[in-house]
Symmetry: C2
Subunit: 227 residues, 2 copies
Amino acid sequence: MDVKKAVVLLSGGLDSATVLAAAVRDGFACYALSFDYGQRHRCELDCAAAVAAAAGARHLVMKIDLQAWGGSALTDDRIAVPDAADSHGVPITYVPARNLVFLSFATAWAEVLKARDIFIGVNSVDYSGYPDCRPAFIRAFSEAARLGTCAVDENWQFEIHAPLQNMSKAEIIRTGVELGVNYSLTTSCYRPDAEGRSCGSCASCQLRRDGFAAAGIPDPTRYTGSR
Amino acid sequence: MDVKKAVVLLSGGLDSATVLAAAVRDGFACYALSFDYGQRHRCELDCAAAVAAAAGARHLVMKIDLQAWGGSALTDDRIAVPDAADSHGVPITYVPARNLVFLSFATAWAEVLKARDIFIGVNSVDYSGYPDCRPAFIRAFSEAARLGTCAVDENWQFEIHAPLQNMSKAEIIRTGVELGVNYSLTTSCYRPDAEGRSCGSCASCQLRRDGFAAAGIPDPTRYTGSR
């Protein structure tokens, strides 16, 4: 029997590590794709490599330069990452069209691999209000991917899997623990220190901390100031 | 009055040079975007720079590595570019999901610039049968771009302009000449020689040659073997 291939977007964070584990559980041969996009928290790429290796997935890091136009606290060093409490509306950590760009590359790789399945860890419960995490966007992208590739000519259609879409952070963590995800390999912080330790107070850290607390699972994250 | 900004995808070829000229004519301040994506015919980037300069547009070259997965004669040196007559169906020069990737970057830049307008030189008359040149793809992408950005929250919508969509190559060339496009700055060949001269026989050269002939306009292209 042919093993089905899937492309899995992998950031090095908690959500995408869980998605990768779910794709492996579902029997896919996984091709994990990360981006060196000029992000402030570039240390997440080391985490992504460790997570991919632990899951037995192939891993590719695509280098792109979203600093060329900036527009986000994550890609422009002149814009500070705020504490969670200071974020309102779509936060300044939103990277313009990031998931659109990431999914487009995932689609390209999937087409070359003849893989129908693409996994992404978007979530619209415990998330930061980014527009490119919404189900409507994922559906619209799926249609664009179908029409913008040869897929349609071969009577197939890409399926964009977003298995975390409606889960709380605590549910995601419980699911990952059941799947054997080692969350100490992952990082979520937007402004880690030079040693990769998390700040504990940016919006992403706060969602993560609250998630572990709500799940009743010890938080393995190394926070600044912790040993 | 505020000048409206537009992002224009610019390959260095005939079509996108015409689109850029049309956008300038329509009063847009143009931000031209090219990609160093591992293409065999990388010399097109010098043409793109010359075309952008001639049009008075800002120009940015984004480096991405589509050779990482190949899958096309344009991005994998092991796959030869065939002569036009030997191409059937979707040709091997099709680069998987290329316009999806290019438009996603254009959308990201447009969002940062607060530009609503994106121009692309796709065409579905005299073209090579690539799926990502079809009107249905452009429409679907437009919807994905709207939903995957903050645009929707600011009560705006990206408009993807594809002014060449229904024009023959001869009509494109006549339009460009009226707009003052200097086609000697452009290149179309998929397998130019080391000096940037065109082969004259790949599918892209053939479309170009036939277009100039049908338009009754002298072809300024430097072909291999010509002086």
